[in-house]
């Protein structure tokens, strides 16, 4: 159980500054997910916390203690790697036990812990196998067991599910959530997959180009994006952005799932023609041709292609972004302007 904080952390390779002035608080016992496109610095951040990557400047604190110069093995951190990184020449049991021996934990205690962990992850019958003789899912479990058995302060995971097939991934997500509940340890999880992030995190850190864009709960991130980047990162299809029609380079955004396929009272109504239709099952995704460009809509209303209609977006479902792409408040004044520009009801 511990909190982590990064203070003014900088990471540079020679003259290449990868991360500059990063400040991050990870709450004790939270399930924090670092998410962002590849190359955004999320893995580097994770690795700096583990100590696998040195920091160029700033401080990293675990439980309020500065750990900049503490070796990775002494930070009380466990990590599950993307490719599992099992020791291929050791049996499952030896893999799990290796770290405990290095920590000089007595034999009985080791046996007890291994037994417990293996029961939790369901590895008991595979203890004497070599990693090469295990399936992908089983290897994943060994990696988890190896990390859990150390009873670490912090549990790190770097894209641990990306090597599993879709079905297994879904199951493992649920298991990881349960595991976090049971252990109560701080989890730090890195992924590029927004669905993974939204479904597991209780705190999401969205990163881009070495900077933190937004840190909040999944619900907050979805309902209250603080910039276009966040708004478009979460949700599929992406949030619609209408640019170039409002004064001061103000941009109007709304999510496809908030598009109503009929006129609305307290919002704007835009004439459009259905260009394409993607049937997903319960929902249908339309691309609508309008005078403001293509607008995506996601709804359960079924309409044929080429239908001409007026779709509506309510004021409550709109986001406004300034010229710098960051969120600006939805004032009554702006509402009036929108109503005039897009022909809505006041």
């Amino acid at each position: 159980m511990s909190s982590i904080s990064l203070k003014n952390v900088k990471k540079a390779y020679g003259d290449d500054v990868v991360i500059e002035n990063l400040n991050l608080e990870i709450k004790d016992g939270s399930f924090t997910v670092l998410v962002g496109p590849s190359g955004c610095g999320k893995s580097t951040t994770l690795r700096m916390i583990t100590g696998l990557e040195t920091i160029t400047d700033g401080d990293i604190l675990i439980d309020g203690k500065r750990v900049n110069d503490v070796a990775p093995g002494k930070r009380d951190i466990s990590m599950v790697f993307q490719n599992y990184a099992l020791y291929p020449t050791m049996t499952v049991k030896d893999n799990i036990e290796f770290g405990l021996i290095n920590k000089k934990i007595p034999k009985e205690e080791r046996e007890k812990r291994i037994r417990e962990v293996c029961e939790i992850v369901g590895l008991t019958e595979y203890l004497d196998r070599m990693p090469a003789n295990l399936s992908g899912g089983q290897r994943q479990r060994v990696a988890l067991a190896r990390a859990m058995v150390k009873e670490p302060k912090v549990f790190m995971m770097d894209e641990p599910l990306s090597n599993l097939d879709a079905k297994l991934r879904g199951a493992m997500r649920v298991e990881l959530i349960n595991m976090h509940k049971r252990m109560g340890t701080t989890f730090v999880y890195v992924t590029h997959d927004q669905v993974e992030a939204m479904s597991m995190a209780d705190d999401i850190v969205l990163m881009d180009k070495g900077k933190i864009i937004q840190q909040s709960s999944p619900a907050e991130l979805y309902h209250n994006p603080n910039c276009i980047y966040t708004a478009q990162f979460v949700g599929s299809p992406q949030t619609n952005i209408i640019d170039g029609h409002l004064p001061n380079e103000i941009k109007l955004g709304f999510r496809p799932e908030k598009v109503r396929m009929h006129e609305v009272e307290n919002g704007i109504n835009i004439p459009a023609k259905i260009a394409t239709r993607e049937m997903l099952g319960a929902e249908i995704i339309y691309s609508l041709e309008t005078a403001y460009g293509t607008i995506m809509a996601k709804t359960d209303v079924d309409m044929p292609v080429d239908t001409e209609l007026k779709f509506g977006v309510e004021y409550d479902n709109m986001y406004l972004f300034g010229a710098d792409t960051y969120r600006i408040p939805f004032t009554a004044e702006l509402k009036d302007i929108i109503a005039v520009v897009f022909g809505g009801n006041k």
């Binding site: 696998l52 990775p72 093995g73 990590m79 490719n83 020791y87 020449t89 050791m90 290796f98 770290g99």
Partner: protein, 279 residues
């Protein structure tokens, strides 16, 4: 038409088999001749027509070898030198290869260049200066002079480096997080992962050191440290009468361990040589 082709095929296959067997016999014949001679009486070796196989196996020829030269000393020396080289080299080449594969430091290209240079420059080129060096240090006629130049085996470093580079860095990182020291990672995690390369390197260096005549000739002139290849040439030179049966018996003592090794691990040895040839 078809059946005619089939008969032709059969004849061709038969001819091919015939020539291949003949070929094998020709290749193997010198070995057969060595073994046969080693068991003949002196008379049989000089008799016309030839003695293809002795009437009675003359095991006494081997006793003659022991009487003529101190084979047991030579054998012991050969074993000491070969085993020392094989074992000690791991202490030198494993850390160096690991450092070249997985550590980052400025002079690394220079170190790697040194390894390549070591592979390029043959001992036949450096023996004189090394002789002077050992001479100055009083190490002529010592095991050290026969062992030291071979334990930094540059080919071994090169091969191990290739193998280490293929180990994902994450495994090392996982071990770091498990609080394992550099040495522990190297010995407990990395070395078991390149076991096959270690065996290959060990085999190759055992074979080349067992067979090494040149270096022992340069560095020794005393029976106390001389190795078996030198012993066999001394056996030949001491035979003014050329008792070829005794010489071949001695020769067999030098050959048999290699043949035995080859019989046990023929595929492994051949693959090792192919790797060393086209790396």
């Amino acid at each position: 038409m078809y059946s005619q082709n089939k008969t032709l095929e059969k004849v061709k296959t038969f001819a091919d088999a015939f020539f291949k067997i003949l070929f094998i016999l020709v290749i193997a014949f010198p070995f057969f001749w060595m073994i046969s001679t080693a068991f003949q009486t002196l008379k049989e070796t000089m008799r016309v027509p030839l003695t293809l196989w002795p009437e009675k196996l003359q095991w006494g020829n081997f006793a003659e070898v022991f009487k003529t030269i101190p084979v047991d000393t030579y054998l012991k020396n050969s074993l000491i030198v070969c085993t020392s080289v094989v074992l000690l080299q791991y202490l030198i080449i494993v850390p160096c290869a690991y450092s070249l594969a997985k550590y980052d430091y400025k002079a690394k290209p220079l170190v790697f260049g040194l390894v390549l240079l070591g592979q390029m420059i043959p001992m036949q080129l450096t023996f004189l200066p090394v002789y002077f060096m050992f001479n100055k240090a009083g190490l002529i006629n010592s095991y050290a002079s026969l062992i030291l130049p071979f334990i930094s085996n540059p080919f071994g470093i090169f091969m191990l480096r290739q193998y280490f580079m293929q180990v994902p860095s994450e495994i090392i990182e996982a071990a770091r997080l498990d609080n394992a020291s550099d040495l522990k990672i190297m010995f407990k995690i990395m070395m078991p992962m390149v076991k096959s390369a270690l065996v290959t390197i060990g085999l190759l260096s055992f074979i080349s050191n067992w067979n090494n005549y040149f270096w022992a000739l340069i560095m020794t002139n005393n029976d106390l440290v001389r190795t078996l290849p030198i012993g066999i040439t001394l056996l030949k030179d001491s035979e003014t009468l050329a008792r070829w049966n005794v010489i071949m018996a001695g020769n067999l003592l030098l050959v048999l361990p290699m043949l035995g090794l080859y019989i046990i691990a023929s595929k492994k040895i051949r693959n090792a040589f192919v790797y060393s040839g086209i790396k």
